[in-house]
C-alpha cells in the first residue's frame, strides 16, 4: 500500500499539500498529517459524529471521507471556528450552558450545531434535537447541548 497520491486541501484557510495513501481517511489526514487533533474518532461505522468537520461549507463525517476525495476542497475543523481569541457563538453557548462534560464528542457536536444554525437560524427544540441526532454524546443526556444551541441562537436569556 505504498503508492501515494498528491492532495491539495484548504484547511482552516491554509492550503495544505501532501502525498497520501489513497485509503487514508480525511480524519487521519487532519489528525496525523496536520496535527489538528481537535477532530476525534469515536467509532468505525460513521455513527457517532465525533469526527464531524465542515467540507465545502457543510457537515461531513471525516471518517467517511478519504483524504483524496477532499482534494481541492475547503475543510474547516474545530480549530478553525473561533475568530482569534473570540469564540464562535456556538462555542460560547456550550461553555455558558454546560453543554459538555468529558469533551470528546464536543468538537463534532459544535461543528454539527454550527451547520444546523447556518441552515436554520431559529430552530425549535425538536429541530435542534434532530439536527444533532447524528452526533452521539454519552455524558450529558443532550439537554444542556440543546440549551447550548438555543443560547447560540439567542433563544435563552
Amino acid at each position: 500500500m505504498s503508492d501515494t497520491v498528491p492532495v491539495r486541501i484548504s484547511v482552516n484557510g491554509k492550503m495544505r499539500e501532501a502525498e497520501v495513501e489513497p485509503r487514508l481517511l480525511l480524519v487521519h489526514f487532519l489528525r496525523e498529517n496536520l496535527g489538528l487533533t481537535g477532530t476525534h474518532v469515536g467509532c468505525d461505522t460513521s455513527q457517532c459524529g465525533a469526527c464531524t468537520v465542515h467540507l465545502d461549507g457543510s457537515s461531513a463525517k471525516s471518517c467517511t471521507v478519504f483524504a483524496v476525495q477532499a482534494d481541492g476542497s475547503k475543510v474547516t475543523t474545530i480549530e478553525g471556528v473561533a475568530n482569534g481569541d473570540n469564540l464562535h457563538r456556538v462555542q460560547e453557548g456550550f461553555w455558558e450552558e454546560h453543554g459538555l462534560q468529558c469533551g470528546y464528542c464536543t468538537p463534532g457536536m459544535i461543528m454539527s450545531a454550527i451547520n444546523l444554525l447556518g441552515e436554520n437560524a431559529q430552530p425549535t427544540e425538536l429541530e435542534i434535537r434532530e439536527g444533532i441526532s447524528g452526533n452521539l454524546c454519552r455524558c450529558t443526556g443532550y439537554q444542556h447541548i440543546v440549551n447550548a444551541v438555543q443560547h447560540a441562537a439567542g433563544q435563552r436569556g
Binding site: I78, C139, Q143
Partner: protein
C-alpha cells in the same frame, strides 16, 4: 496597611460557575491519549478471536512478520514467557487470565496475538494477515444452563461454571460464623397475606464512553523507568498494577491520565492491552501506542449489569412489606476482571432499598459464560438492586390496587430512624424519603398526570405512568469496603506569588473537578477562582490517589482537599499573625486579604503573606518556611443518596414503539458545590438509565457471537430519544463528611430504568401484563397489543 481595592468576592460554593475545563475542550485544544506522539513511537494492533470458545490449534504469523515496517509479532504463549496472568482486585478465587490467550479463547474478541509496527494502518494490516486455526468448543451463553455445566465447563477448576457458588446475605446471616438462620424470613412469608413472585432480568449493557480506550507506553531503558499514558479513571491504581506486572517497583512507573473522554466504570479496570503495551515497550525500548476501535470496545471493554433475579415479596393486604427474598444470578462473562466479582455484591448490599423491611434473604451466585467479562458500569450493582425491588414494589401495588406512591410511603424508613442499619449490613447515613416523594409527585403533578392518562386512554392511546424510588451507596470507602483503599489524597500549595496550586487523587473524566474543587479552595482562602489551579491525573504530580468511581469525587476527594487546605491555611494564618502582630485565631481570609476580624479595611494582601512565608525574615518561632501541605482522609461510612423518578410513557399502537413523554427526577445528593454540574450529572445518568429500559442491549447469539458489535446494531441514545427532563432536589446533608456532600454521578441511572418499565407495565396492564423484561423492543410491545402475546 493595605486597603481593599475591589468589591467583595462572590461566594463560589453553591454557585453555577462556568467550567474551567471548557475553553480547551470547545476549541479542540485538549490532549487525549490518541493525541500524544513521541519520537520513535510504534503502533500496536491485536489479532482477536472470532469465535467465543475454542482451543488455539495453530497461529501462523509468517505473512505478518514479512511485511516491511512490522517490528514484532507475538502470540499469547510467547508473551506469557515474560508477562504473567492478570491480577484482580477482589478476594474471590479466579482462573488464570492472560493479556493474550495462551491456548484457549473464551469470548469473541479475546486477543490471540499482537503486532507492533511503524504505522497504525500497517499494524492493522499485519494483524489481519495472522492466520489462526481453532478447535471450536461449545459456547456457554445461557446463564442458567451454564450453572448445570451445559453445554460445557469453561474453566476446569470451576465446577458448573460457578465463579462464586453461593453467598447468602440478609436477616439471620452471620458471615463471620458462616451460619444462616432462616426463622425471620420464613415467618415473614408465613405471615404474608399476599406474595409477589417474579423472574426478572437486568440485562447486559456496553458502557460506550465516547473516547475508546487507549494507551501509550514508554519505557526508557537508560533510566529503567516506565511512563504510561492511559484513558483511565484511576492512574494511581494503574501505576501499581503496571509496576507489579512488569517486575518493577512502583517508584519506577509514572501513570498519566490525560484528558479522558468518559469512563462510566469501564475505565477502572486495568486491561491486557495496557499490560501488553508496557511489556512490549520494555522489551523493545521504544514507545508504543494502542488505540481501541469501537468494534473492539464492544467486544473487549468490560460490559455492565447482566443479573438475573428471582424475587419474592411478602406483604400484608394493607401494603406493609414483611419480607423480601432475592436469588441473584450474575452472568459475569468469561473471566474475573479487576472488580467483576464485587459488583454483584453491591446489588446484594442495596436490596433493602428505601424501606423498613423486617426480613430479607438474598442469595448470590456468579457464573462464567463465553462473553466479555462484566465490571463496573455507571451505578455498578445498585441499579440492578433498585430495578428488582422497585419493579416488585410496583407489582405489589398493582396486586393490592394501591397507588404506587402510597405503597412506598407506608414502607419508607422514617427520618428519625437514621442512621439506619439495614438487613443487608449497610448503615444508611441520612434521609428524608417522604419529602423527596412529595416533591416528585408535586413536580410531576401526579394526580393530574393520572387524569391525563385516563383521557388519553379514552382516545385509544396506550399510555402508562411509572414511579420508582432509589437509594444508592456512594462516596466509597472506607478502606474496609474497598480493596484498593477507601481514602483519597490531596495537596495544597500557596505559591510564592499568592496563587494556589492543588492536587487531587480524584482523576476526573468529565465530572468538572477542576471547577468544583477550585470553587471550594477559592472560598476557603478568600481568593478569586482564577487564582486556583487544580492538577490531577498524573502520578508524577499527584503524590497519591485512588481515583474517580462510585460517585466519590466530591464526598471523599473534595473532603480531603478541604482538609489539606485547612492545614495550609492554619500555617498561613501564623505567618499573617506574625506580620500583623495579631492573634491567628482572630484572622479572616476574604477578598484576597487576611485581616483581623472586625477590621476588613485593614490587613495584608494574600500575596504579601505568601511572599513572606517564602522569605521569612524574621522566621517566626516554631514555623518552617513555605506554604504547602497534604492530607489523606477516608470516611467512616459510605454515603446514601436517594431520589424519586417518575415517567410517562406512550406505546404506539401501530408500531409498538415506546415514546417517553415525561421524565421527572428528584435527586438528593446532600450539599451541592455547583448546581449546574450536578444537573449535568443527573441528565447523563438519566440518559443511560432510560437507554437501558428503552433501546440498549448487548446481545450474544447461541454460539456466543456478539450481535451488537457496533453503533449500527447497538442502539445508543440520541438527542431525539428524550423529552426535556424536569428536575428538582431535596437536600439532606450527610454527617459522614464535613462537606455534607453525598455524590451524584450515578444517581440518574438508579430510578429511571425501573420507573420506565413500571410505566410500560402500567400502559400494558389493560392487556393483562404484570411484568415485562427490558429492553422494551417495539416488536415485543406490538405483539402484546395486537396479538395478545404474553410479556
Amino acid at each position: 496597611m493595605t486597603t481593599i481595592d475591589r468589591p467583595v468576592l462572590p461566594k463560589l460554593v453553591g454557585a453555577r460557575i462556568k467550567r474551567r475545563e471548557d475553553p480547551r475542550l470547545i476549541q479542540g485544544r485538549a490532549t487525549y491519549v490518541d493525541d500524544i506522539k513521541l519520537p520513535g513511537m510504534l503502533h500496536m494492533a491485536f489479532k482477536r478471536s472470532d469465535i467465543a470458545h475454542g482451543r488455539i490449534a495453530s497461529i501462523d504469523t509468517s505473512a505478518a512478520e514479512e511485511m516491511p515496517g512490522v517490528e514484532l509479532v507475538i502470540t499469547g504463549a510467547r508473551l506469557a514467557e515474560f508477562l504473567g496472568p492478570m491480577p484482580i482486585g477482589t478476594p474471590f478465587p479466579s482462573p488464570d487470565h492472560h493479556s493474550i490467550a495462551t491456548d484457549t479463547v473464551r469470548y469473541q474478541g479475546e486477543p490471540v496475538a499482537v503486532v507492533v509496527a511503524t504505522d497504525r494502518y500497517l499494524a492493522r494490516d499485519a494483524a489481519d494477515a495472522i492466520v489462526v486455526a481453532f478447535e471450536p468448543l461449545p459456547a456457554v451463553v445461557d446463564v442458567e444452563k451454564a450453572m448445570q455445566a451445559q453445554p460445557t465447563t469453561i474453566h476446569a477448576a470451576f465446577e458448573n461454571n460457578l465463579a462464586v457458588p453461593y453467598v447468602p446475605g440478609g436477616t439471620g446471616v452471620d458471615a463471620v460464623a458462616g451460619t444462616v438462620d432462616n426463622s425471620a424470613i420464613d415467618k415473614a412469608f408465613a405471615d404474608a397475606e399476599v406474595v409477589i413472585s417474579q423472574r426478572m432480568v437486568n440485562h447486559r449493557l456496553a458502557p460506550n464512553a465516547m473516547e475508546p480506550r487507549g494507551v501509550v507506553a514508554h519505557y526508557e531503558p537508560g533510566k529503567d523507568y516506565m511512563t504510561i499514558w492511559s484513558s483511565t479513571q484511576n492512574p494511581h491504581i494503574l501505576k501499581t498494577f503496571i509496576a507489579l506486572m512488569n517486575g518493577m517497583g512502583d517508584h519506577q512507573v509514572r501513570a498519566i491520565a490525560p484528558e479522558v473522554g468518559g469512563g462510566f466504570g469501564c475505565k477502572i479496570n486495568i486491561y491486557g492491552e495496557e499490560y501488553t503495551a508496557t511489556a512490549l515497550s520494555k522489551k523493545l525500548g521504544v514507545p508504543i501506542k494502542w488505540i481501541e476501535d469501537r468494534s473492539e470496545a464492544f467486544m473487549a471493554t468490560t460490559h455492565g449489569r447482566d443479573i438475573l433475579c428471582y424475587i419474592d415479596v411478602a406483604a400484608k393486604r394493607d401494603g406493609k412489606v414483611l419480607g423480601v427474598k432475592m436469588k441473584l444470578i450474575a452472568d459475569i462473562g468469561a473471566y474475573n476482571m479487576l472488580l467483576t466479582a464485587a459488583i454483584p455484591t453491591l446489588t446484594m448490599l442495596m436490596c433493602n432499598g428505601t424501606y423498613d423491611i423486617p426480613a430479607i434473604r438474598v442469595e448470590l451466585t456468579e457464573v462464567f459464560t463465553n462473553k466479555m467479562p462484566t465490571d463496573a458500569y455507571r451505578g455498578a450493582g445498585r441499579p440492578e438492586a433498585t430495578y428488582f425491588l422497585e419493579r416488585a414494589m410496583d407489582m405489589l401495588a398493582r396486586e393490592l390496587k394501591m397507588d404506587p406512591a402510597e405503597l412506598r410511603r407506608i414502607n419508607f424508613i422514617q427520618p428519625d430512624q437514621f442512621p439506619y442499619a439495614t438487613q443487608m449490613g449497610a448503615v444508611y447515613d441520612s434521609g428524608d424519603y417522604e419529602k423527596a416523594l412529595d416533591m416528585g409527585l408535586s413536580l410531576a403533578n401526579w394526580n393530574g398526570l393520572k387524569a391525563e392518562q385516563e383521557r388519553m386512554r379514552a382516545d385509544g392511546r396506550v399510555v402508562g405512568l411509572g414511579l420508582a424510588f432509589y437509594v444508592e451507596v456512594c462516596g466509597l470507602g472506607p478502606s474496609s469496603s474497598l480493596p484498593t483503599g477507601g481514602w483519597e489524597h490531596a495537596g495544597v500549595t500557596i505559591e510564592r506569588g499568592g496563587k494556589i496550586t492543588a492536587t487531587t487523587g480524584s482523576s476526573p473524566h468529565g465530572q468538572g473537578n477542576e471547577t468544583t474543587f477550585a470553587q471550594m479552595l477559592g472560598d476557603q482562602f478568600g481568593v478569586p477562582i482564577e487564582d486556583v489551579t487544580i492538577l490531577h491525573g498524573d502520578t508524577g504530580v499527584v503524590k497519591q490517589g485512588i481515583g474517580t468511581f462510585g460517585s466519590r469525587s466530591q464526598a471523599v476527594g473534595g473532603t480531603v482537599l478541604a482538609l489539606a487546605g485547612d492545614k495550609v491555611k492554619t500555617k498561613m494564618a501564623k505567618f499573617a499573625a506574625a506580620m500583623m502582630d495579631a492573634a491567628e485565631e482572630d484572622l479572616v481570609f476574604e477578598n484576597g486579604q487576611i485581616y483581623v476580624k472586625g477590621s476588613p479595611g485593614t490587613g495584608k494582601s494574600f500575596a504579601e503573606v505568601a511572599a513572606y512565608a517564602y522569605v521569612p525574615v524574621p522566621l517566626p518561632p516554631g514555623l518552617e518556611p513555605g506554604l504547602s501541605d497534604e492530607a489523606f482522609w477516608e470516611p467512616e461510612n459510605n454515603t446514601y443518596p436517594f431520589g424519586c423518578h417518575i415517567a410517562m410513557l406512550e406505546i404506539d399502537r401501530d408500531t409498538g414503539e415506546p415514546k417517553l413523554l415525561k421524565m421527572i427526577a428528584i435527586d438528593d445528593c446532600g450539599n451541592v458545590i455547583n448546581p449546574m454540574i450536578v444537573e449535568g450529572q443527573v441528565h447523563g445518568g438519566l440518559a443511560q438509565g432510560i437507554g437501558q429500559a428503552l433501546i440498549e442491549e448487548v446481545v450474544y447469539d447461541e454460539d456466543g457471537q456478539l450481535i451488537t458489535g457496533s453503533f449500527m446494531d447497538y442502539a445508543m441514545p440520541r438527542a431525539t430519544d428524550f423529552p426535556r427532563f424536569e428536575m428538582d432536589r431535596t437536600t439532606t446533608p450527610t454527617p459522614v463528611n464535613p462537606l455534607g456532600a453525598k455524590g451524584v454521578g450515578e444517581a440518574g441511572t438508579l430510578g429511571s430504568t425501573p420507573c420506565i418499565v413500571n410505566a410500560a407495565v402500567d400502559a400494558l396492564s389493560p392487556y393483562g401484563v404484570k411484568h415485562i423484561d427490558m429492553m422494551l423492543r417495539p416488536e415485543k410491545l406490538w405483539r402484546i397489543i395486537n396479538e395478545g402475546a404474553q410479556a
